[in-house]
């Protein structure tokens, strides 16, 4: 059955459009990022960076960081037009992923999503139809590709939504309408719809629609009969989130990504338009060649992609290996499609004590930016990294054998805050690992569900 499925072919137009759209969206994202001055603000100005565990060597490159973004932008264009695709997609994946790994203060799920899509594209023949590569070398040109090439992207998008929906099946979201009950009233001055946010029921309607939307939208997009309705709701849903919340490019990326679910004919029409507009010969987009992988290339892809999807399916559930409340400890929170689930705020004060009796309460802004401080104050792995940074800094500034104690106060989803970290623990001695951090004090209420 699997072998017959793998042999099924389909028109290459959807994948070509997906390649073009992804390249263009990424290019625009980078231009926007640059124009907003965020390269400077996030990757050049800070004195310290919070690397990911085990990947701390991935850091901004000083002023060369601009070159990194430039490389990424050029690669995005090359991918979009399909020139030197095989090399360009690898460069794009690596440069984009490198950027996202430089400081986890800027971690966003949609950047993670984009990185993974780029990874998938490395293994897909997205340049074999309607690309500069095929224009230059006709022997690369194929109108048909294996059906699974497109199905895996659809499946990945479906998975993203479905897991985002699963993550919403918790008591705070469904029963308390949190955190939307906090966020929406802050928007009550919006024209036309602002008044709605003064009513509690609005938040409840939003959370339930959001949850049902996430859980079902992938299936509804996949189904021929429901697709148009589903796509319309994708556009409306993401448009609403775009005006309500500061989530940047994400809504637009998803609106464009969901096009992949449309039929080959639909994409073919777009490509026909492009083709006419570019005054290219009709034969360029109409050959009846079917692209077939060589046996080894196919096996290689099956292995890689199976591992990929297996990891993707398991990773969001890794939180189950940790005790305590996930929203509180955030152990296993990232890389799990958990979006818009928490309003978390914290206040962290660190005291450094040396063996010669000196002691100081640290002003965080001497070391961190506002964004970094905000992220650090609510996430234990940041707190530990920062404590180690302080230990090393003060050790070389006249504080022998420094001990570092954290006084951290955190509020989750609008409840009155409580002490987050055991203030008696010397964090200078604690080591980072994937094990549970037993110096996180337990949350004094329970959030039920995923």
């Amino acid at each position: 059955m699997l072998t017959t499925y793998l042999k099924k072919s389909t028109h290459a137009a959807p994948l070509a459009i997906f390649r073009i759209a992804t390249g263009c969206m990424l290019f625009l994202s980078i231009v926007r990022f640059w124009a907003n001055g965020w390269i400077e603000e996030l990757y050049i100005k800070p004195k310290y960076y919070f690397g990911f565990y085990g990947l701390e060597f991935i850091k901004p490159l000083g002023n060369y960081t601009y070159i990194l973004f430039m490389v990424c932008a050029v690669a995005a264009i090359l991918v979009a037009i399909g020139l030197w695709y095989k090399q360009a997609i690898i460069v794009l994946f690596l440069s984009f992923t490198y950027i996202e790994l430089m400081d986890k203060s800027t971690y966003l799920n949609h950047y993670y999503f984009t990185s993974l899509v780029l990874f998938l594209l490395i293994f897909l023949p997205a340049h074999r139809y309607f690309s500069v590569d095929t224009y230059r070398n006709k022997s690369l040109n194929f109108s048909y590709i294996p059906k699974w090439n497109i199905d895996i992207i659809k499946f990945f998008v479906l998975m993203l939504y479905f897991y985002a929906g699963l993550a919403k099946l918790n008591s705070d979201w469904l029963l308390n309408a949190l955190p939307l009950k906090i966020w929406l009233p802050a928007r009550n001055d919006m024209p036309l719809i602002g008044w709605l946010f003064n009513y509690k029921i609005t938040a409840y309607v939003f959370v339930w629609i959001g949850c049902i939307y996430d859980l079902t939208i992938g299936f509804l997009l996949w189904n021929n009969k429901t697709r148009l309705f589903a796509y319309l709701s994708v556009v409306i849903f993401h448009f609403v989130t775009a005006i309500l919340f500061p989530i940047g490019m994400f809504p637009y990326i998803m609106i464009v990504t969901a096009l992949i679910f449309f039929s080959a004919q639909f994409h073919q029409k777009i490509i026909n338009l492009f083709n006419q507009w570019l005054k290219l010969p009709a034969g360029f987009i109409q050959n009846n060649q079917t692209f077939i992988y060589k046996p080894f290339a196919l096996k290689f892809r099956i292995v890689i992609l199976s591992v990929f999807f297996l990891v993707q399916m398991i990773l969001p559930f890794r939180y189950m290996f940790y005790p305590q409340e996930l929203f509180w400890t955030e152990e296993g929170y990232r890389f799990s499609w958990r979006v818009m689930l928490m309003e978390k705020a914290g206040y962290a004060q660190f005291t450094v004590k040396s063996s010669n009796g000196k002691a100081i309460v640290v002003n965080n802004l001497d070391f961190l930016t506002l964004l970094q401080e905000k992220m650090m104050s609510t996430q234990p792995d940041f707190i530990l990294q920062y404590a180690h940074l302080l230990r090393d800094y003060y050790h070389s500034h006249g504080y022998p054998n420094p001990q570092v104690f954290a006084d951290v106060y955190v509020s989750l989803n609008g409840r009155i805050g409580q002490t987050f970290i055991n203030p008696k623990i010397d964090l200078a001695q604690e080591k980072e690992s994937f094990k549970h951090k037993n110096w996180i004090l337990p949350l004094n209420y329970e959030i039920k569900g995923f």
């Binding site: 907003n36 965020w38 800027t106 966003l108 799920n109 949609h110 199905d151 029963l175 955190p179 906090i182 966020w183 802050a186 009550n188 001055d189 003064n198 009513y199 509690k200 029921i201 409840y204 309607v205 339930w208 049902i212 859980l215 079902t216 299936f219 509804l220 996949w222 189904n223 021929n224 009969k225 429901t226 919340f245 500061p246 989530i247 940047g248 994400f250 990232r334 979006v339 818009m340 689930l341 928490m342 309003e343 978390k344 705020a345 206040y347 002691a359 100081i360 309460v361 506002l370 964004l371 905000k374 106060y409 955190v410 509020s411 609008g414 409840r415 009155i416 805050g417 004094n444 209420y445």
Partner: protein, 382 residues
């Protein structure tokens, strides 16, 4: 690969919507009545705070400050004991009034860095000496901040000699008397220039813009106002007035000489209390002139119905109680905080501890409940 037939997916949707409705209704008895309506009004908040507190407070400060400038001019024109005493008295009143406007650390106050020119302490005596000698040092750079404003004047009219006669002599018979007079003139002029920039802005277009920017994203009026207000309390009341002298930031070592108005021994507590009361009144939205409460941050929190999940107590109540606790602590201190640090530091530390609790309530619980953002960058809420 059809995963769901049309009919089954329809049923799922209808089913889920039904469950949603039933669940939502049973859980919270949702209906569009007033009890389920939490209407916050940022326009009213911004209007009350700017029209009834900020602008009148600046206006009142201007009166006291102009009086101080006049007395300063009289002293620099004719340095004698009588003029010194008059200058000192007007400085004292202005400094106390300054405590009621220092917390407006947003908008023009922030743009023109008014605090940097008015109240950075402990003042740096050697920088002052260098500036006096040089005569034309740039007062706009951070290195000069600790050599101007009220604390520098404090030194120049209270600390530069041991008696009034000695102080007057510094401006009459000392070899650099003229230079000192010039420096006094320079720093009072600097204060006047900066203050007028801030005051003109508030009297002019800024207030209108301020009241109209009712959004709550980073850069909006509410967001900058709340952030500036909290920062002032955290860093310039809790730390500056109490924590740093008491050694709360440097456990084991205290710095009595870092109290505010160090050269005027009996003033520090009055300044701290004035600032604390102003901060409290701002939270309560009390009119600067007649103390009647208008739409306030407290009302805003109540409109959001923010409560402690376990006790059911309103956050605004928890905050006001903490303000009251701090008042009790401050009332237990002697006027001379310098000697309190030396003799009764535990009381100072206790005051700091209670202030620290308020910082948490304001900075974490309040901003979180109000959905205040600090950063312009994208955020997907995790």
């Amino acid at each position: 690969m059809r995963l769901l037939s049309v009919s089954s997916s329809k049923y799922i949707i209808v089913g889920l919507i039904l469950i949603a409705t039933v669940f939502a209704c049973s859980k919270s008895e949702v209906n569009l009545t007033e009890t389920n309506k939490n209407e916050t009004d940022r326009k009213a908040l911004l209007t009350n705070l700017s029209d009834n507190i900020i602008v009148p407070a600046y206006a009142d400060f201007k009166t006291q400050f102009d009086n101080m400038l006049a007395k300063s001019d009289a002293f620099t024109a004719t340095p004698n004991t009588a003029n010194l005493i008059a200058f000192r008295a007007s400085w004292r009143v202005a400094y106390i009034n300054w405590q009621k406007v220092e917390m407006f650390d947003f908008g023009p106050g922030q743009t023109y860095a008014i605090r940097a020119h008015f109240n950075i302490y402990p003042t740096n005596v050697s920088t002052i000496a260098n500036n006096i000698a040089a005569g034309n040092t740039n007062l706009e750079v951070p290195a000069s901040y600790a050599a101007q404003g009220f604390p520098a004047i404090d030194y120049l009219i209270n600390g530069i000699g041991n008696s009034d006669a000695e102080i007057v002599a510094e401006y009459t018979s000392a070899t650099d008397a003229t230079k000192k007079i010039n420096y006094l003139k320079r720093i009072t002029n600097q204060m006047n220039t900066v203050f007028n920039q801030v005051y003109t802005a508030w009297k002019g277009d800024f207030a209108t813009t301020f009241k109209s920017k009712t959004a709550i994203d980073a850069g909006s009026s509410t967001s900058t106002l709340i952030n500036g207000y909290i920062l002032n309390f955290e860093r310039y009341i809790r730390s500056g007035k109490i924590g740093i002298p008491a050694g709360s930031m440097t456990p084991g070592t205290n710095f009595p000489q870092k109290v505010e108005a160090f050269y005027t021994k009996d003033l520090a507590l009055t300044l701290a209390k004035t600032a604390q009361t102003a901060t409290y009144n701002f939270f309560l939205g009390k009119s600067y002139q007649n103390q009647t409460a208008g739409y306030s941050i407290k009302n805003y929190l109540d409109a959001l119905n923010v409560k402690d999940a376990t006790s059911g107590k309103l956050l605004s109540e928890i905050v006001t109680q903490q303000f009251d606790v701090i008042d009790v602590q401050l009332n237990g201190l002697q006027n001379n905080l310098y000697s309190e640090v030396i003799n009764n530091n535990q009381k100072m530390i206790n005051t700091y501890t209670e202030m620290q609790k308020l910082v948490r309530l304001l900075k974490v619980d309040m901003t979180s409940a109000m959905s205040i953002t600090i950063s312009y960058t994208d955020n997907d809420g995790d």
